[in-house]
Amino acid sequence: MKPSQTLIKLGKWLMQHGRLRIVIADDEAAYFNENMLKAAKSAGYHGIERIHYVTQAIFSSWLTTPPNIVILDVRNVCDSGVAKDGIELARTLLRETSAMVAVTSAHKWHFRKSLPQIDYFIEDRQLTSTDFVNELSAIVDYYLSKKARFYRHVLMRIGVSLVRGAMQGVG
């Protein structure tokens, strides 16, 4: 049985209009590359900003208008005036803002001491576009269920469940 295209379209339309602001900061171009972002967009995740570096200006803007979700690399991701590394930046964001913070690093030991304070870490660094969309979907699920109040992002919630329901109904 094919998934209902109408339901999927409707779900994605709702996701687009109930969009979450997701910012990804990673200095390496190969990670979170253009293909991945395109795949995420076509899966309904609009509103993704991809930056390579967190400057003081960007950081200040996050403090006043925090993104819903921030995905951060650990090394070489921000000005030294902002934070020592991605982990310290993540801690600051968690303390000062309502953003959900996910971190990613090629070195898993970066997470050793900081895990209890960080919402989520992306364990697999090596991702294809499909893997990235799955990962993003898990991150958004976490955000909607743990970080956002139940009455927030209603369109996003309905959209996600419509698309997922239609896909799961296949076969």
């Binding site: 190969a30 070195h107 030991w109 997470f111 001491k113 919402d119 989520y120 893997d131 799955n134 898990a138």
Partner: protein, 297 residues
């Protein structure tokens, strides 16, 4: 009789490079202590001194991982452009692009093993990626069996008849990533050490509602009795395909798994036994005992 001459040993103290955060720098001047990374250091006030090697093999391996990983990711991204819908978590042996991705997975696992990152693997209690947090045991075994079949040479096995007898709804839920690496060691060994045209059985045996034994049975050359197969660097035969690192690594991973999960009752353990068939062939049975599982949600 002359007195034995002595060689003066001068310890050279150098600046520590083990961790980027350097909490030792925040200690008081004159502190002589052992840090969280197990390194003895002395804070002179202007620098942190340690008698540790400036760059250890482990540091080199960890940095190598950092350097190589971006190259691997670049290869994955290019394969992804050639063929959409590829996944590092699903290897399609019929697709060249998927095989390229599979080869990068093998390299990544190898680098991970060499760098020993799992000494530092995070404890439980963190939310991890959806797929990694709850991996299907069957899918993981299937994927790794296929992935490691990509490497071919005259010593590795060919034409294996592989049966995977694991319920599809079983999932590994805690510390999925080290468990995946454990399975990778045993599946790679199956390809390394089985005789051609033989049967391999990988099956789970339930122990309780939340524990299974995962058993890998293959047919290979007999090992001398009492062979220290889990010792680092042990090779049963001079021309052995492996370097004696994988099984040692498996033990390290299991220890870490128990330690991180504070598993006192029913700890995970790695067992090995062989059942001799004749002078040339034996059944090798490796078991990951007490693997925590639950039904897939």
């Amino acid at each position: 009789m002359t007195a034995p001459f002595t060689i003066p040993i001068r310890v050279q103290y150098k600046e520590c490079v083990i961790c980027p955060s350097k909490p030792c720098r925040r200690t008081r001047v004159g502190t002589l202590e052992v840090c969280a990374y197990g390194i003895a250091f002395y804070n002179t006030g202007s620098e942190i001194l340690t008698n540790r090697e400036r760059v250890t093999t482990r540091d080199i391996a960890a940095n190598l991982r950092h350097e190589l990983h971006r190259v691997l990711m670049y290869i994955v991204s290019q394969a992804d452009e050639i063929e959409p819908n590829l996944s590092t978590r699903r290897i399609n042996l019929a697709s060249p692009s998927s095989r390229i991705v599979g080869a990068t997975v093998i390299l990544d696992k190898f680098i991970e093993m060499v760098s020993g990152v799992y000494d530092f693997h995070p404890d439980r209690g963190c939310s991890t990626s959806g797929t990694a947090a709850q991996i299907s045991l069957y899918d993981t075994v299937r994927r790794l069996v296929d992935t490691y079949s990509l490497i071919k040479n005259v010593r590795r096995a060919s034409r294996l008849d592989i049966a995977i007898d694991i319920p599809r709804d079983l999932a590994v839920v805690t510390m999925a990533s080290p468990v995946e690496n454990l399975i990778a060691v045993f599946t790679d060994n199956i390809w390394k050490y089985s005789l051609p045209d033989t049967r391999v059985v990988i099956r789970s045996k339930p122990k309780s509602a939340t524990l299974v034994d995962l058993e890998f049975t293959n047919i290979g050359k007999p090992l001398p009795l009492g062979s220290p197969i889990f010792e680092k660097g042990y090779q049963a035969y001079p021309n052995s395909e492996g370097f004696g690192f994988g099984l040692y690594w498996a033990k390290v991973l299991a220890d870490h798994y128990n330690d991180a999960q504070r598993r006192i009752d029913s700890p995970m353990s790695i067992q090995y036994g062989q059942e001799l068939i004749d002078a040339e062939r034996t059944k090798h049975i490796f078991t990951i005992e007490n693997l925590a599982v639950q039904d897939k949600q």
